[in-house]
Every structure is written in structure tokens, then in C-alpha cells.
């Protein structure tokens, strides 16, 4: 009987080629085109598009948004995953489902929800207006929408890691006299650090790249409430293709850096595990 791996070479080659071809057409080609288009009118035009005040403001806003959303969701993710992995409490599975909510609904809907709650005619609108607080069509709205959309990344990444590590090491630490903070810093955190870093990287990528939710709450005020993805859209709609691609290339670069960081984390985490098991083998022959 033929085993699944006994396929003829031709079949293997065909499958590999199909996968690579798909990858090239749908992932690599567009990426290359982004940079080709961005540099179409030369390096100076490229730099000019990036140095344009509205582009710089969009970059600043994007970085600010990520700088708020990522640490906030880092803290939330740690707290949520710890609670879910360590304790049985009423509403635990409901909590688990709620964490996934931002994955389940379209980002546009989450944007609209924020408008309905914080907008001028929204639930909290009159109160906010009375206190001169502007949320929708302003920076706070963008940060809130991004927070919501990037909510699940860290928690989702950490829950399985925490569950796999188990609670015995923490119990041992408590019995040896560790305080809550010592327990977290010396035992829990080192055990989940690679999972945590991985979640942060994914969360950061999404925070910088989010379009839908942010688009609804931003109001597209140039130089004030446009993030990088929104700025790209504005430029594109105004037929400034070269400038649009120049700014898009910034986002693409961020993505590439993120992917590189992610690979590095995976490689470090993997090699850490290999080093341990590898030298374990040495020990048995010593």
C-alpha cells in the first residue's frame, strides 16, 4: 500500500510550485510593486512625499496610537490570560468569548459602535459635549477604536501558554515565601515571555495597520486625525499615486520589521527549547 509520502516526484514538485507561485503572485509581487511605484519618480520625490507635513503627522499619530494601544493591551492580556488559566470563576467561558469579540465583528462595525456611544448624537454625546471632550473625529476616538480592535491579540497568545505551563511552579514559589510581585517577575513572566512578546508583536502590527474601525471614527481631518493607512487612502483617492505608494511603503516596512521580529522571537524561543533538550541528551551519555 502506498504511503502518503510515496507520491511521485512530479506531484511533489507540482504542489511546491503551486504554493510558491501563489505566494509570489499574491504576496511578493504586490510588495515589490509598492516599492516600485513609490520610487517611480525617483528618490527625491519619494522623500518629498514622506516628508510632507501631513504624512509626518499621520506617522506621528500612528506611532502614538500604537504606543497607547500596545502597552494597554499588554497589561490587559496578562491579567486576562492569568485569570483564565489559573482560576475557575463564574462567567469564565463568557469572558473567554468576549475576548474574541473584536475578532468576530467587522472592524467597521466596531467603529460605528464608537460613533453611536461617543458621537455628538450618541449615548454619551451630550455629556461629553457639556464637558468639552471630543472623542469621535479626534485622537481619543482613534486610540479607543484601535484598543478595541487589538484587544484579543496578547490574551489569545498567552492563554494557551499559561495553561501549558500550569500552576505548580507558582504554588511552589508561594510556598517558598515569594510575594505576589516576586512570583510574577521571577516565575510567571520568564515562563511566558516568548508568548508574550509574540502577542505584542502581532498586536503592534494590527495597531499600526488598522483601517476599518479607525476610518469610521477618524473623520479624516488632514494633519490631525489621519493615521498612515488613512493617509494612504486620501492620497490614492486624489490620484497622487506615487505619494500614496511612498507612504504605503512606510507601512510595508513596518510590516517587514514586524515579521522579522516575529521570526526572531520564534527562532529564539525554539532554539531555547532545543538547547535544553539537546544538552539533556549529552547528560545521559556523560
Amino acid at each position: 500500500m502506498a504511503r502518503p509520502t510515496d507520491e511521485p516526484r512530479a506531484v511533489k514538485a507540482l504542489l511546491v510550485l503551486a504554493a510558491l507561485g501563489f505566494l509570489a503572485v499574491f504576496l511578493i509581487l504586490p510588495l515589490v510593486l509598492v516599492f516600485a511605484q513609490a520610487l517611480e519618480k525617483g528618490v527625491f520625490a519619494y522623500l518629498a512625499a514622506i516628508r510632507e507635513p501631513n504624512a509626518l503627522s499621520a506617522l506621528r499619530l500612528t506611532l502614538l496610537t500604537a504606543a497607547v494601544a500596545v502597552p494597554a493591551n499588554l497589561l490587559f492580556g496578562l491579567a486576562a490570560s492569568w485569570a483564565i488559566a489559573r482560576f475557575e470563576f463564574p462567567g469564565r467561558s463568557l469572558f473567554l468569548t468576549l475576548i474574541d469579540l473584536p475578532f468576530a465583528v467587522s472592524p467597521v462595525i466596531s467603529g460605528v459602535i464608537f460613533v453611536l456611544v461617543f458621537g455628538r448624537l450618541g449615548l454619551l454625546g451630550p455629556w461629553l459635549q457639556a464637558h468639552q471632550i471630543k472623542v469621535v473625529f479626534a485622537v481619543p476616538g482613534i486610540v479607543l477604536a484601535t484598543l478595541f480592535v487589538t484587544f484579543p491579540f496578547v490574551a489569545r497568545e498567552l492563554i494557551p501558554v499559561m495553561q501549558a505551563v500550569g500552576r505548580e511552579e507558582e504554588e511552589a514559589a508561594v510556598l517558598l515565601g515569594a510575594s505576589g510581585w516576586q512570583l510574577f517577575r521571577r516565575v510567571t513572566l520568564p515562563n511566558v515571555k516568548w508568548g508574550l512578546l509574540y502577542g505584542v508583536i502581532l498586536c503592534n502590527a494590527r495597531a499600526m495597520g488598522e483601517f476599518g474601525a479607525v476610518s469610521v471614527v477618524s473623520g479624516h481631518v488632514r494633519g490631525l486625525t489621519n493615521t498612515l493607512p488613512l493617509h494612504v487612502e486620501v492620497l490614492y483617492n486624489e490620484y497622487q499615486f506615487q505619494a500614496a505608494f511612498a507612504v504605503a511603503s512606510l507601512l510595508a516596512l513596518l510590516a517587514i520589521v514586524t515579521l522579522a521580529a516575529k521570526s526572531l522571537v520564534e527562532w529564539r524561543a525554539g532554539s531555547g527549547a532545543r538547547a535544553q533538550s539537546g544538552s539533556g541528551g549529552r547528560e545521559s551519555t556523560a
Partner: protein
């Protein structure tokens, strides 16, 4: 330090893990909590440690109520079944952990920590592995690191959860003896949980047999083995032949056996069971008093004894052990009819 447990009950949902248990562990004793899985022994150990809060009852250390005291304040050394070593720390750092997390004014200097950890690693014969990670150690080595780590904080009591449970037979034997010697040296009040009756009898000063969340019997290994208090203990302490029947008018009719039973002189009969260990059954070719005939089905040599399996006229199987010399003298053949007598029969009348 002595430990006392008073009427402790612990429920997990509908399941009662520990059901009104009271227990005293005198200072310096090594006590085994013995029972099948689900008997509540590990829950009881975790309650003593402060890892679980009892639903009712008290835990006292040295006569003082410690029920509300936090686990980290109880100063108990705990060895987990799967060791629970800190996987990202070296063996040295694992043992040093309890000293390093002390508040600054109580923390020993780096030199003192070094000295102390080295001493402990020497005691468990693992000094040469100080820089290894737990994942690089064998099971027995990990177990000893876990023990050194627990002892580093100078605990007042030592609690061990199935300390030899996940080790292979030979390492287990060695570690058992080693633990017993260690206890004789340091005389630290210790409680360990096990489901292996041989282990409990070999290592402990006293054995607490648990079943379904309750204590069945407390006693020295000799008492537990020679005078089991309940049918459960009788069965749990090793293989036993059971004869069901009744007691009435000072007589017991148990299966094929009929013996005098003066403990129940009453007219009214009661259901009862008789228990005989395989070495308490005598095999002969000639008929005697108070015995019965059975057919030999199997004979297996096992060291100093030969194990026989016989079938009585009702079709029930009986296990018998006889010394090798006796077997060689008798040389029974398979299918031969032999006469069985119980040298010792322990009778338990069913509770009303």
C-alpha cells in the same frame, strides 16, 4: 513541629474530597497518607500546606490555629509529585529561590546563600549538577533538587505529594531508603502521600489509611498490617481471599468455611465476611477440621514462596502462598484435589 487537623472537610462542587478528617502528627514523626486515587489524601496534604482552604475544620501547627494563615507564612516545605522545579532557572537558583525572595532585612548575604545552597546540594549528592537546568536532569535527580529546594527555607514541616510516584521501580527503592535515612538525621515532622502500601509500610513511622475522604485507620506499619481495622484496609494492604456468609449463635459460616465466632453469640444472624491472606491458607492432602476441598489450577514460583491458584467447588478462585521447601515436600500436581484450612481468618461483621 506537631501538626493537627480537626474535622476538616473540603468539597469540589458535588464531590466531597475530604470528609470530616481529624489527625495528629507528633513532632518529628514521618507519617504516610495512604489511599487509592480519589481518597482525599492529596487534598488533605494541600490543605495542610495552605494551598487549599478547607470548607470546615481547622489546621493547627504546634497547637496554634493556622487555618487562616497564608501558604507563604506557614513555613512548610512542599515537594510536588512532578517536582514543579522552575524550568528557566539552574539547579542552584532553584534551591536558592526561597532565600532570595526573603524581605531584604531577613535575606542572607550572597556568600551565605552560596554556602547554604552548596551544603544542601551536597546533602542530596547533586553538587556537580548545580549549573544544569531541570530539563537536563533525570527524574530521581529532579526529585532530590525539589527536596533540597524545599529544605532551603528551613521549613517547620515537610510535605511530600507522591514523592516517588513518577520514578521507575529501582530509583524509587533507592530514594525511599534515602528519604528514611534523611529523616532519621534531620527529624523534621514530615507527611507524605502515597498510593503504594509497600512504600508506606517501609518508610513511615505511622500510616494513615484513607478512603473516600475519610480516615479508615491510623497506626504503625505493624498495626496496619497485622490488625486491619476495616475490610477496606484489609483489602488495600495486599491480596486477600474473601469468604462471604453469616455469623449466628457464636458460629461463622463463611463460604465453604465454618468456624467458631464467640464475638457474636446472638440468636439473630448478621451478614459477615472473612478475610485470609494467601500465606494464611494451609494446603494438605488429607482432610482436617474446619476446612474444604479445592482443585489446584496453577502454581507459579515467586522467590521464597510458590503461589498457588485453587478453585473450590463453587467455582471461586483462591490464592495461596507456601514456602518453597513446603511446596517441594508436598509437590501437588495440577488438577489435584487439596484440602484447605485457614490458619488465621479475620472476620468483619457488616455494619447494621
Amino acid at each position: 513541629m506537631s501538626i493537627e487537623v480537626r474535622n476538616v472537610t473540603k468539597r469540589f462542587g458535588d464531590f466531597t474530597a475530604v470528609d470530616g478528617v481529624s489527625l495528629r502528627v507528633p513532632d518529628g514523626e514521618l507519617v504516610a497518607l495512604l489511599g487509592p486515587s480519589g481518597s482525599g489524601k492529596t487534598s488533605l496534604l494541600r490543605i495542610i500546606a495552605g494551598l487549599e482552604r478547607p470548607d470546615a475544620g481547622q489546621v493547627l501547627f504546634e497547637g496554634q490555629d493556622a487555618t487562616r494563615r497564608q501558604a507563604k507564612e506557614r513555613r512548610v516545605g512542599f515537594v510536588f509529585q512532578h517536582y514543579a522545579l522552575f524550568r528557566h532557572m539552574s539547579v542552584f537558583e532553584n534551591v536558592a529561590f526561597g532565600l532570595r525572595v526573603r524581605p531584604r532585612r531577613l535575606r542572607p548575604s550572597e556568600a551565605e546563600i552560596r554556602e547554604k545552597v552548596r551544603g544542601l546540594l551536597r546533602m542530596v549528592q547533586l553538587e556537580w549538577l548545580a549549573d544544569r537546568r531541570p530539563s537536563q536532569l533525570s527524574g530521581g535527580q529532579r526529585q532530590r533538587v525539589a527536596l533540597a529546594r524545599a529544605l532551603a527555607v528551613e521549613p517547620r514541616v515537610l510535605l511530600l505529594d507522591e514523592p516517588f510516584g513518577s520514578l521507575d521501580a529501582q530509583v524509587r527503592q533507592e530514594l525511599r531508603r534515602w528519604l528514611r535515612r534523611l529523616h532519621d538525621e534531620i527529624r523534621l515532622t514530615s507527611v507524605f502521600v502515597t498510593h503504594d502500601q509497600e512504600e508506606a509500610l517501609e518508610v513511615a513511622d505511622r500510616v494513615v489509611v484513607m478512603n473516600q475522604g475519610r480516615v479508615e485507620q491510623v497506626g504503625t506499619p505493624g498495626e496496619i498490617f497485622e490488625r486491619p481495622a476495616t475490610p477496606f484496609v484489609m483489602r488495600f494492604m495486599g491480596h486477600v481471599n474473601v469468604f462471604h456468609g453469616r455469623v449466628q449463635n457464636g458460629k461463622a459460616h463463611l463460604g465453604p468455611l465454618a468456624i467458631a465466632y464467640p464475638e457474636h453469640p446472638h440468636q439473630e444472624g448478621r451478614p459477615a465476611s472473612g478475610f485470609a491472606r494467601p500465606y494464611d491458607l494451609e494446603v494438605a492432602r488429607e482432610a482436617g477440621a474446619d476446612g474444604f476441598w479445592a482443585t489446584l489450577r496453577r502454581a507459579t514460583p515467586a522467590g521464597a514462596v510458590v503461589r498457588l491458584e485453587l478453585e473450590d467447588d463453587e467455582g471461586a478462585l483462591l490464592q495461596v502462598e507456601m514456602p518453597r521447601e513446603r511446596h517441594a515436600a508436598l509437590l501437588p500436581e495440577l488438577g489435584e484435589r487439596l484440602y484447605l484450612q485457614a490458619r488465621t481468618l479475620r472476620v468483619f461483621v457488616d455494619p447494621a
